[in-house]
């Protein structure tokens, strides 16, 4: 638990105001769990469309949506109702979000309130200037296809509205648990994990750090990326804790056995240890993460907590950029400078390439790229060429260039065979692509 002194030091400079919203039934439960644990000093606010559930909640600040249309009886699992109710109460929601720097939205997607209200709330919170981080669960498969569809649609909306979405599909949680675990226990674990996520990020921001992660770092990883994030926490103690920690972390189903790290564009790592935290520990942990994530933008922090004597804990938030069709965020953040540079270089290569002197081309459909052009870029250019024959290929194209994900690598003859996964890396993908080696 962050002692009071830290909060006061924060206050001495500028107090970071954080608010956690629990939306809907699942969100409310998560909130209660967080409030009960050591996150007591954050401000909490429960939002629901069902007056009875809200009345039963232990959270002091409550907000009932859709009093008039729904008469406090809930949405009946229809996200559209939830959304309408929220749109009606925009003013009230804005008031709730006023003067906060960081907003967490905890919700379970799939139902009416969580799915419908969260995107609206995220939008409102963002408009009032806060960094919005949504932490949501997706329903279990047995909850039926309708809820899955609703959840997916809600997730898309939320991704578009919030700065970052940390999504925990319940089926991943199921992997963590034994078959015989009770349902109550399963939901409790999910809620716990999400609470841990909030706690991890909160602690990352407030603990006195050797290497401090501050609000700006978090913002640079998340803001404007419309990201899909995964997070994982791991803890180990005693001799060899760094190795044990990494084993736990990389084995975590929340990171898809380490695959999430390789796929990530930006990674935030926070290491917490006792006063006996050594450089070696930090080094070992970071080295492992670095080898997994060589091409991503990495932000790290290390902090000391007296309570963590002989223990080592790490929180990782790995975010992957959203779908390519989404336009880039309005303000390119620190991590995207490279991107911007590439963007700038884009048109130049473009013209150079397309206005090349009319060399007699071989009759084949395949046109060899000039040797000085990296195959990656060449591939992108070809993709465009194939796409936009004769059509307006100006601005649209340029956007596409920056956004084309590198993941669509054809595996050639191994396309249909069992992939060779080694420590989360797909070895069937050419090495030079995985290592980001540019050929030129």
């Amino acid at each position: 638990m962050p002692p009071a002194t830290e909060v006061s030091t924060l206050a001495a400079t500028k107090r970071l105001t954080v608010k956690v919203f629990g939306v809907g039934g699942a969100g409310g439960t998560m909130l209660e769990q967080m409030a009960k644990s050591d996150l007591g000093e954050l401000s909490f606010s429960a939002i629901h469309t069902n007056a009875r559930v809200l009345a039963g909640s232990a959270i002091p600040e409550k907000f009932l949506l859709g009093d008039k249309q729904l008469r406090g009886l809930g949405t009946g699992g229809d996200p559209e109702m939830g959304r309408m109710a929220a749109e009606e109460e925009i003013a009230g929601l804005t008031a709730l979000c006023r003067e906060t720097d960081l907003v967490f939205i905890a919700a379970g997607l799939g139902g009416g309130t969580g799915t419908g209200v969260s995107p609206v709330l995220a939008r409102v919170a963002k408009e009032s200037g806060a960094l919005v981080l949504a932490i949501v669960t997706l329903p279990f498969e047995f909850e039926g296809p309708r809820r899955q569809r609703q959840a997916q649609a809600g997730l898309q909306q939320l991704k578009a509205a919030a700065d970052g979405v940390i999504c925990l599909p319940n089926r991943k949680v199921a992997k963590l648990l034994a078959e015989s675990t009770s349902l109550i226990e399963t939901f409790k674990v999910t809620n716990d994990l999400l609470a841990q996520g909030v706690r991890g990020i909160w602690q990352m921001l407030t603990r006195p750090g050797l290497m401090k992660v501050d609000f700006a770092d978090l913002a640079s990883v998340l803001r404007g990326r419309h990201t899909e994030s995964s997070f994982a926490m791991a803890e180990a103690r005693g001799e060899g804790r760094a190795a044990e920690l990494m084993e736990k972390l990389l084995g975590s189903p929340l990171l898809d056995d380490g695959q999430a790290l390789s796929d990530a564009d930006a990674i935030l790592v926070s290491i917490v240890g006792g006063p006996d935290l050594t450089m070696g520990d930090v080094n070992r942990v970071m080295q492992q993460i670095n080898t997994r994530a060589q091409t991503s933008h990495l932000v790290m922090g290390a902090a000391i907590d007296e309570a963590y004597h002989d223990r080592l804990a790490v929180t990782v938030v790995a975010s992957r950029r959203g779908q390519p069709e989404e336009p880039m965020g309005p303000e390119p953040a620190a991590g995207e400078k490279e991107e911007a540079a590439f963007e700038a270089a884009g048109p130049e290569i473009d013209t150079q390439f397309f206005q090349a002197p009319p060399v007699p081309r071989p009759p084949s459909r395949f046109v060899a790229p000039p040797p000085s052009l990296a195959p990656e870029k060449a591939r992108q250019l070809f993709a465009q060429q194939g796409h936009a024959k004769g059509r307006a290929r100006k601005s649209v194209q340029r956007w596409r260039q920056g956004q084309l994900p590198l993941e669509i690598v054809s595996k050639g003859r191994f396309e249909k065979s069992e992939p060779t996964i080694h420590h989360g890396e797909d070895l069937d993908v050419p090495t030079y692509i995985r290592r980001g080696v540019v050929l030129n």
């Binding site: 071989p362 084949s364 395949f366 060899a368 790229p369 040797p371 195959p375 690598v409 054809s410 595996k411 050639g412 003859r413 191994f414 065979s417 069992e418 060779t420 080694h422 070895l427 069937d428 050419p430 090495t431 030079y432 290592r435 080696v437 050929l439």
Partner: protein
């Protein structure tokens, strides 16, 4: 089981080729290779059969060729198996000595070996090999044969290779459909190491890397015993695939480029050089950068070595390899592989010769045939044991091989 009991055949169903090697054990117990047959493999990917019909045809071709060359009729084979599903690990079994005088008997040794074999494997997995490493008596390490010694507790370290039962059955089934018997299945990496290493090299510590088309197998010997085995489902096919992707050429052309222009290192002299590819009519079709070709190859091959080095480093074995690294398999032919291996492992590396065997020496001294020859060698050990009478280890082995002979 054999027509002529002294004929031993090794069959290696690889991703690039199927290879049958015929060996003959003479009266003095010496082994000589008398025949070899090979066929291009079409039904195998990453070391495992994906098209049983094609694989069957290829096996038949290889066997027929070997039969003609050796002038014998082949009835049973020692079959090499590989694939990403195979795993090796070390296990320890122990057994209290109960006899009143505390003398360790043959039965005690049998019991301790049995205990070491009782491993908690996934239900669908089966043991391929249980290889004795050494015994411990009352904690005293490094005993090779405890029979006749005194002690209260005898332990044994074994190296166990296990794999998925169904996937092990596939090649066995393919061979049986050709009306051939399978004497035993042998992990390909183990077979290669048998063909390549002399006893001194095993004693001093050596790493054998068999870089095939579909898979790369590796085996570590130290102090004369097998310490570690592993399979990486990455091989020469991956190199070709990378080239096809990176240089944007068809897979066949990539394969050809790999053989003609490929090397494991990027020399200064290739920088900026280009190659012009010509089409069917001899007209220039495409220009590729030689440096790119080399870089793509070099990164992939380096990675293979690095992955192995990492694993051995974790197992703490890198310091035991005093004889260095021995390369075999088709991938070992790539120029500069030895230098690359030297750089990655920091150990002397060499393209290995299949010594310790007599026969068609010059024809056989190719890195690709190491597995086939090793299989024959494995067979000759079995043969020797059989003719020497039923030794204890033999009984363990037969029970194992019987496991796989069942349909």
């Amino acid at each position: 089981m054999f027509d002529s009991p002294s004929i031993i055949v090794g069959l290696d169903i690889g991703t690039a080729k199927v290879c049958a090697v015929v060996g003959e054990v003479n009266e003095a117990g010496g082994l000589s290779i008398i025949g070899l047959g090979q066929a291009k493999s079409r039904g195998v990917r990453k070391g495992e059969i994906i098209n049983a019909t094609l694989a069957g045809e290829d096996i038949r071709h290889a066997i027929v060729e070997a039969e003609q060359m050796a002038d014998v009729e082949i009835q049973s084979v020692y079959l090499g198996v590989t694939g990403a599903h195979l795993h090796g690990f070390n296990n320890r079994g122990f057994h209290p000595v109960v006899s009143s005088d505390r003398e360790i008997t043959e039965e005690d040794v049998q019991d301790v070996l049995k205990n070491a074999k009782a491993i908690n494997l996934p239900a669908e997995n089966r043991v391929v090999h249980v290889i004795r490493q050494h015994f411990l008596v009352d904690g005293q390490d490094g005993i090779s044969n405890p029979v006749g010694m005194f002690g209260a507790r005898v332990e044994v370290d074994v190296h166990v290779v296990h794999g998925n039962f169904n996937r092990l059955q596939n090649p066995i089934r393919a061979v049986k459909s050709m009306q051939l018997e399978v004497d035993d299945i042998v992990f390909s990496g183990l077979a290669s190491s048998l063909a390549l290493l002399t006893n001194e090299q095993k004693e001093l510590g050596a790493l054998v890397i068999d870089i095939g088309s579909g898979t790369t197998e590796y085996v570590v010997y130290a102090d004369g015993i097998i310490k570690h085995t592993g399979v990486l489902a990455v091989g020469g096919d991956h190199v070709s695939n990378d080239l096809a992707y990176g240089l944007k050429v068809p897979l066949g052309r990539a394969e050809q480029l790999k053989i003609e222009q490929g090397a494991a290192l990027i020399e200064e002299s290739v920088k900026g050089k280009t190659i012009t590819l010509t089409g069917d009519l001899g007209l220039p079709e495409k220009t590729i950068n030689l440096e790119h070709l080399r870089r793509i190859m070099s990164l992939r091959l380096e990675e293979i070595f690095q992955l192995i080095a990492q694993e051995l480093d974790q197992a703490g074995l890198l310091n035991y390899l005093r004889e260095g690294v021995f390369l075999c398999g088709g991938g070992a032919r790539i120029n500069g592989m030895q230098t690359l291996a030297q750089q990655v492992f920091g150990l002397p590396a060499s393209l290995s010769k299949t010594n310790s065997i007599s026969g068609l020496k010059s024809a056989l001294d190719q890195p690709e045939f190491a597995t086939g020859i090793g299989l024959v060698k494995f067979g000759s050990f079995e043969h020797k044991k059989r003719s020497e009478g039923r030794s204890s280890l033999f009984q363990v082995k037969t029970s194992l091989s019987q496991l796989f002979r069942r349909d």
